[in-house]
Symmetry: C2
Subunit: 278 residues, 2 copies
């Protein structure tokens, strides 16, 4: 592996990009120079020493502008035209920085993921750190709900791999096999993401007037003969929200931590039983 040493998380990158980039091995992966992978791992500031005018923007600026739009108006509002308008350039000029909109969205996702939390400083055992990791990831999704709707083919960006690494480091020495570590990491990632998605969906429905809330919908159709358990829960007020739209996020977070704690307990029992057997 002979990539250049000077790559950076593009969180701090400032320079522009070349068509093929210069990182990576000589034999480019199938798909050629515009693969998402290469784009996400492009090098940061490239010392300019070529003819032509100086670029007026940077990849990061484009990505950040797109994220701002997505934060404000959702992922569907992110179009090349809108991003260009925000940066006060023509739509086509964006293609000097981003190979395609698909690449832009993937870069948005990785950028919005940010750096994982530092878990070494967290006091307590691995259980606490795992929970801290999950909570931090949950926080990212709450800050950028569009991430849960964005079409990202694979988690292979620098930040995403850093998150994975951070979690694996926490559960490295708790008594799991390598395969189990990967299983657990993927499970936690998937569970957090899945539940965050449900959470934001519910919150949006509770917030927007033209959408019916889950409780209302349930009340309209949950007849005891057809949905007995749901009806029982409904009658008991289990779906009544604590306080307005904001309550949705916190209540779903409760669901997440509940499941997480049970999961952790199960893992503890699992590794304890294994240690006992030898």
């Amino acid at each position: 592996m002979a990539y250049t040493d000077g790559y950076t998380l593009y969180t701090v990158s400032v320079g522009c990009q070349r068509k093929g980039g210069t990182m990576g091995s000589e034999q480019t992966p199938p798909g050629g120079g515009s693969s998402t992978f290469e784009f996400l791992w492009r090098e940061g500031d490239r010392p300019r020493s070529s003819p032509g005018p100086r670029p007026g923007l940077s990849v990061t600026q484009v990505v950040v502008a797109a994220i701002a739009i997505a934060d404000a108006d959702g992922i569907d509002a992110v179009s090349m035209q809108q991003v260009a308008k925000r940066l006060e350039v023509t739509p086509m000029s964006l293609y000097r920085y981003v190979p395609s909109k698909k690449h832009l969205v993937e870069a948005m996702f990785d950028e919005a993921s940010g750096a994982p939390p530092g878990l070494d400083a967290v006091p307590g055992g691995w259980q606490v750190r795992v929970e801290a990791w999950v909570t931090a990831l949950w926080g990212r999704y709450q800050a950028h709900p569009w991430m849960l709707r964005a079409q990202v083919s694979q988690p292979i960006g620098p930040n995403q791999l850093a998150w994975l690494e951070a979690l694996l480091a926490v559960i490295k020495d708790i008594g799991l096999t390598y395969e189990e570590m990967v299983s657990l990491a993927l499970f936690l990632t998937g569970a957090t993401q899945g539940l965050a998605r449900i959470s934001t969906d519910l919150a949006r429905a509770a917030g927007e007037d033209d959408l019916i809330s889950f409780g209302e919908a349930l009340a309209a159709v949950a007849r005891p003969d057809r949905f007995p358990t749901l009806s029982a829960l409904l009658s008991a007020g289990t779906f009544d929200l604590p306080a307005g739209a904001a309550g949705e996020a916190t209540s779903t977070e409760t669901d997440l931590t509940f499941g997480l704690r049970q999961l952790i307990e199960g893992i503890e029992a699992h590794v304890a039983a294994r240690a006992e057997r030898g």
Copy 2:
């Protein structure tokens, strides 16, 4: 609640729909007659007794055609034009059956969800049934991977509520509070969905030539100093796939059942401890 008695899961519906539908209470929910909720719960066959030509299609036919396209070419290939082409009508005629594309997608999701599995016949305790439920849901997502990419605002369709009911019925009497039951149900739904999404993403990457596989990507950038744990796993061959592209789905399913079993074990301990305390 005075909805008509004759509503059916539109899986078996055949008739056409009116603008406002006739189900539901008199006071329509906020958003008016074209809310997703009302559309999903529209009644089935409506006995025609009005002037005008007979409809040549049905809502179900439109939804099924759209699903066929999504199954074959992904959710992005589903456009009003493509669906119309498949049904040999003009694009605009679809709007006689479906209020908008958004409604169509929601209907696709519920239709593709299908009826939940019958879990009463499953031998064994609630643990086995929960696992059967999760596996069945997993199977749906594998059969229709586009479901994980579709923009569905809320799980309030007939089939989706039936799935939820089925799960709740299984965990109804195992010793959880109502709140915990909901937490567990949402957690399981979210985890299955989230992991299925990761699974299909990985499988697609492994299958398509223009995408780099996760293992390849990792090998390209996972330097020991920056990603020590990932590097260790990589060296140990943990990311090597068992057999080709199909192996991805099964290996991710292993991740799911691993997490699920730990979760169930934790729940068992949880309710056992509570029963002991009284």
